[in-house]
Symmetry: C2
Subunit: 240 residues, 2 copies
C-alpha cells in the first residue's frame, strides 16, 4: 500500500535473442517457484526497490542471475500491465530485449533441454535456447512478449544497425548480410544491402585482413566502427 492505493506487482522480463543454427533463438529459463514451477519462461523477476537503481539495472541483475550473462546491450521493448497476466494479482512487466553473439554465451550456458526443476545459481543457470518461430505458447503472457520482441527486432533490422550486436569482432560483408538475412528470415539483394550498409556508415575494413575462403577469392574483413558500440544507426530507406 502506498498513499492508500494498493500497488501492482512490478517485474522485469528479458527477451534474450541470438543466432544459432541459422535462425533467431531465444533463451528460456526454468522456473523454480509457483506459479508455473518447472516450466520454461522468459528470464524475469521482481524489481527490488532497495537494490535496483532503475528498471534497466533490474533487467541486468535478473539476466545475470537467471542466465549468468553480463550486461549485453539491452533495450526497453514495451510494458505489459494488466489484471490478468499473473495469477498473483494486477502486475506490470517492464520488458527488455537484447541481441548477443552466440559465441559469447554458448560456453557459459549449458543446455539441458529436458530437465527437472532445480537450483538456479550464477554458475549453473538452467537455460535453453529455442527457435523463436517454433514456440507456440509460453506461461503468463510471455508468448505475446516474445512475439512483440521478434517483430520489433525484424522491423528495426530493415532500417538500422541493430544486428551488429550479433556479430563477432571480425567478419566479411557476406557474413554480415547472412546475419541480417537470418534475423529477417528472408534473403536480401546483395547490391542494395551493400549500398545501405555504406549509407549507415557502420563498418570499416581492417587493413590487410583477408579471409581465405576456400574456393572463392579472399574476402576483405571488416569490423564495426567504434562509435557504433551501443548506438543504433538508422537508415533512411529499408534494406529491401
Amino acid at each position: 500500500m502506498q498513499n492508500g492505493h494498493p500497488q501492482p506487482i512490478v517485474t522485469v522480463d528479458v527477451v534474450l535473442l541470438t543466432l544459432k543454427d541459422g535462425a533467431l533463438q531465444v533463451a528460456l529459463s526454468q522456473r523454480e517457484h509457483p506459479p508455473h514451477p518447472g516450466e520454461w519462461t522468459l528470464p524475469g523477476g521482481w524489481v527490488h526497490v532497495d537494490e535496483d537503481e532503475d528498471a534497466l539495472a533490474a533487467a541486468v541483475r535478473i539476466l545475470k542471475s537467471k542466465t549468468g550473462l553480463q550486461s549485453p546491450y539491452l533495450e526497453q521493448l514495451q510494458t505489459f500491465a494488466n489484471r490478468h497476466r499473473d495469477s498473483r494479482g494486477w502486475s506490470v512487466s517492464i520488458a527488455y530485449y537484447a541481441l548477443v553473439p552466440y559465441e559469447q554465451v554458448h560456453e557459459r550456458l549449458s543446455v539441458p533441454t529436458r530437465s527437472k526443476p532445480g537450483k538456479n545459481d550464477a554458475t549453473h543457470p538452467r537455460i535453453q535456447w529455442r527457435g523463436v518461430d517454433s514456440i507456440r505458447s509460453l506461461p503468463f503472457d510471455h508468448q505475446k512478449i516474445l512475439e512483440t520482441a521478434v517483430s520489433r527486432v525484424r522491423s528495426k533490422t530493415l532500417y538500422s544497425s541493430l544486428p551488429i550486436h550479433l556479430m563477432p569482432k571480425i567478419f566479411t560483408l557476406s557474413q554480415l548480410q547472412n546475419v541480417y538475412e537470418q534475423v529477417l528470415g528472408s534473403s536480401l539483394d546483395k547490391r542494395t544491402f551493400r549500398r545501405r550498409i555504406e549509407e549507415l556508415d557502420l563498418v570499416e575494413p581492417i587493413p590487410g585482413a583477408l579471409e581465405q575462403g576456400g574456393a572463392h577469392r579472399p574476402a576483405q574483413c571488416y569490423r564495426v566502427k567504434r562509435r557504433h558500440g551501443r548506438e543504433l544507426a538508422l537508415a533512411e530507406k529499408n534494406l529491401r
Copy 2:
C-alpha cells in the same frame, strides 16, 4: 508489500499533443497535491488496481479526469522507472502519447494560462497548451518524457500515417502536407510527399468535393480511408 517485496509506486502519464498556431503543442495539467502543488505537469495519476483493467484503461481514465477528453488514439511511449523520479519513492511511470485535432478539444478545454491551484473536475479541468519547443523544464522527469514523445512522433511522422490523427474529417493534400510539416518543424518536397502518401494508400478523394481556395483553382478534398482509423500505416522510405 507483495510476497515480502516492497513494491514501487505505479503511475501513468500522458503526453497529449495537438497542432495549434502552426506548431506542435502539449496539454499540461495543474497539480493539486504535493509534490509540486500548483505546478503544471503532464496529466498523470496512479494505477487503480481495483478499477483499471490494464495500463491503457488507466491512461484513458486519467486523461478523461484531468483533461475532460474522451479516449483519443493512445500509444504506449516508454516506461520511466527508477528511484529518483518521484520524491515519494521508487516509481514507475508507464507513459502514453496521443495526437488529437485541436478542433476536437479547444472548446472543451478552457485555458487559464496563469491561474492558482484549484479543483480539477471533469467539467472544469485546468489545462493549458504549450508549444513543445518552448518548454525548458517540467516537474518530475516530465521534461524527458515530453522530449521522448516529441522525438518519437517526429521520427514516426517521417515514415508513417501517424499525423492523420491530427486531421479534420475533410482536407486537401496541401493541408495534409502542411500538418506533416508542422509536426516535423521543417518543409517537405511536394512531389516526394505526394508519392509517399500514395504509397501509404492512406487517403481517398471525396467524389465531387472541391475546396474553393480563393485565388487558386479549386482543390480536391480528401478523407482518411476507413481502414486507417486506428492503425498505423508504415512507409518503406521516408518522406524527405
